[in-house]
């Protein structure tokens, strides 16, 4: 169970992590400044199991991988959004940040709600208002990448065929 941090529509990669902080690719360093302009208290107060909730087209803008890396580095459990920009979606999966697409949850969850997420089934339970939302479950291969900590790490110890096995 964690707390929901909500963000608006079209959150672009610069709002997730401004370009000036992209001189490093260290997740923990990046996490110090994640969302610093749109939600300055996020970085200091986010806890493991908290979830980031966005609207439509989350992660639009540049193709830089720093944005999902920064969110992952902040220890948030996952992102829930109504939809994602294409390259952010791929980058998030490849770096091992679980992301769920669920317009109903994105529209209904408000800042600070207590939320429980089952990544494997895609079930999202809002304990604050009692609502339950169903996202599409993450494909098994996404879970494998997430568990390995990203596709680069996965490939260090596995053959690529094992992804879909």
């Amino acid at each position: 169970m964690g707390k929901a941090w909500t963000f608006g529509e079209n959150m672009n990669t610069d709002e997730i992590i401004p370009g000036r902080f992209n001189i490093t690719i260290d997740p923990l360093e990046l996490a110090k400044n994640v969302f610093c302009e749109v939600k300055p208290d996020y970085a200091a107060r986010v806890k493991p199991d908290d979830v980031v909730v966005g609207g439509q087209n989350f992660g639009c803008g540049s193709s830089r991988e720093h944005a999902p890396v920064a969110i992952k580095g902040s220890q948030a459990k996952c992102v829930i959004a109504a939809s994602y920009a294409r390259i952010f979606f791929r980058n998030a999966i490849n770096i091992g940040l679980p992301i769920l697409e669920c317009p109903a949850a994105a529209a209904d969850i408000t800042e600070g709600d207590e939320v429980e997420v089952d990544l494997a089934t895609g079930k999202i339970h809002n304990l604050t208002n009692g609502h339950v939302y169903q996202a599409r479950p993450l494909p098994a291969f996404v879970m494998k990448i997430a568990e390995a900590g990203g596709i680069v790490n996965f490939l260090k110890n596995h053959d690529v065929q094992e992804l879909m096995a």
């Binding site: 830089r64 991988e65 920009a85 294409r86 791929r90 494909p139 291969f141 596709i151 260090k156 690529v160």
Partner: protein, 416 residues
């Protein structure tokens, strides 16, 4: 059975696949360039496994080539050292990556080509699946020869009719971007078809696929036909026999029908590509630079149109007019046919090939307060230099007309 993108992926997977499925498939070619190769090398080194098949790897130096500064020079040296170390021989520096990929025969109907460049959508013009990826994925593909894909839904854009004189694929595409918006094609495969497409030569089809990126599309496909196969034989090194893959009983998410005969010359105005207007609405706006180049519109036929308008005339004295042929092959042909001489006599600065001024690194950087009219595909703030400059996008004919007058000008009176 399916849309064009489903048909392409079904062949690769060896079974019928549909939108929404996630697949791991062999890719035919893995492209990267001077800008994106360094991070791919980093991912590759971290994985620590050998290259799967170096014949699938193609690396270009085009974004800032020859290196305009020390940083670029160092990055390029690293890239070249890597290629030597790994025995990668498919290395090109003869123009913009996407154009050279086509000329060298890497792009064929049904091929799956991934590129560390967002305009890899260009390859769709020849019936190939082409899409842009981050550098890490390119490094991963070097090791695995594969990539995972989520098969996209398709929006069919049905284009019918004949364009008015002075209206080109660029105008049609800017019009489409204005209609659909910058996220109108997100995640989607855009499939261009209709009788307008059937008659459209490949250099014009390329403009549509190339700019499908601007509306967020994963790919911008045009089914290969006789025109495609002829082009491959005559203009490229691809000399095999290729299947014409077509959509079969496709289920489209949406079909958008446009009668192109209603479209007049268009301009995508600062600062968004979907800020599309009829050219006459912005006619008279002064321009400091006219840039004719890039993977969108610097092919031989584009230069021919520009030279046709500029022949025997002189460009406006206060407007820089820069022509950057998309590839060495195009440059050479334009040299031999006399186009380059016409352009130079008119006062154009003809540069070496490559991306040139497109990303504001060299070859025509904009100062604060300057405005450019260009044949590029993107007008993001600051792309060509100062964030206080403005970029307007238009066809080569409109760019040539502006070169003469120093302001945005209807090209139609200049076209004989």
């Amino acid at each position: 059975m399916g849309t064009l993108v489903e048909e392409i992926f079904s062949r690769k997977a060896g079974r019928e696949v549909h939108a929404g499925e996630i697949l791991l498939v062999d890719v035919d070619t893995i492209m990267s360039h001077d800008n994106t190769t360094p991070l791919a090398i980093k991912a590759f080194r971290e994985i620590g496994k050998p290259i799967f098949d170096k014949n699938k790897i193609v690396i270009h130096f085009d974004h800032a080539y020859p290196a305009p500064n020390l940083l670029a020079a160092e990055a390029q040296k690293k890239g070249l050292d890597f290629m030597k170390e790994q025995g990668i021989t498919q290395f090109f520096h003869q123009g913009v990556c996407h154009q050279v990929m086509i000329e060298e025969g890497f792009i064929t109907p049904g091929a799956i080509v991934i590129g560390a460049d967002s305009h890899s959508n260009t390859y769709g013009a020849l019936g190939a699946f082409g899409a842009g990826f981050g550098s890490t994925e390119i490094g991963v593909a070097w090791v695995t020869g594969k990539c995972w894909f989520s098969v996209p839904q398709t929006i069919r854009i049905e284009l019918s009719g004949v364009t008015q004189p002075g209206v080109f694929a660029k105008d049609v595409m800017i019009f489409i971007a204005g209609k659909l918006g910058m996220d109108g094609g997100t995640y989607r495969s855009i499939e261009f078809g209709g009788d307008y497409i059937d008659r459209l030569p490949i250099h014009e089809r390329i403009v549509l696929s190339n700019m499908s990126t601007e509306i967020g599309a994963k790919c911008g496909l045009i089914a290969a036909d006789e025109v495609t196969l002829d082009y491959l034989k005559v203009e490229t090194r691809a000399q095999g026999s290729y299947e014409q893959i077509h959509p079969v009983h496709p289920q489209y998410e949406k079909i958008i029908a446009i009668d192109v005969s209603t479209i007049e010359p268009q301009v995508a105005c600062h600062p968004d590509v979907d800020n599309a207007k009829a050219l006459r609405e912005v006619e008279g706006l002064a321009v400091d630079e006219v840039y004719i180049g890039t993977c969108t519109n610097a092919r031989y036929e584009d230069l021919e149109i520009v030279a046709g308008i500029l022949q025997g005339k002189t460009v406006h004295p206060h407007t820089r007019v820069i022509v950057t042929p998309a590839s060495a092959k195009i440059y050479k042909k334009a040299l031999q046919s006399g186009l380059i001489e016409i352009l130079m006599d008119a006062g154009c600065t003809v540069t070496g090939t490559g991306c040139g001024a497109c990303i504001g690194r060299h070859g025509g950087v904009l100062a604060p307060g300057e405005r450019a009219l260009t044949t590029m595909n993107r007008n993001f703030i600051g792309r060509m230099g100062s964030p206080l400059s403005e970029i307007y996008l238009a066809s080569p004919a409109s760019a040539a007309a502006a070169a003469l007058t120093g302001k945005i000008t209807d090209p139609r009176p200049y076209l004989a």
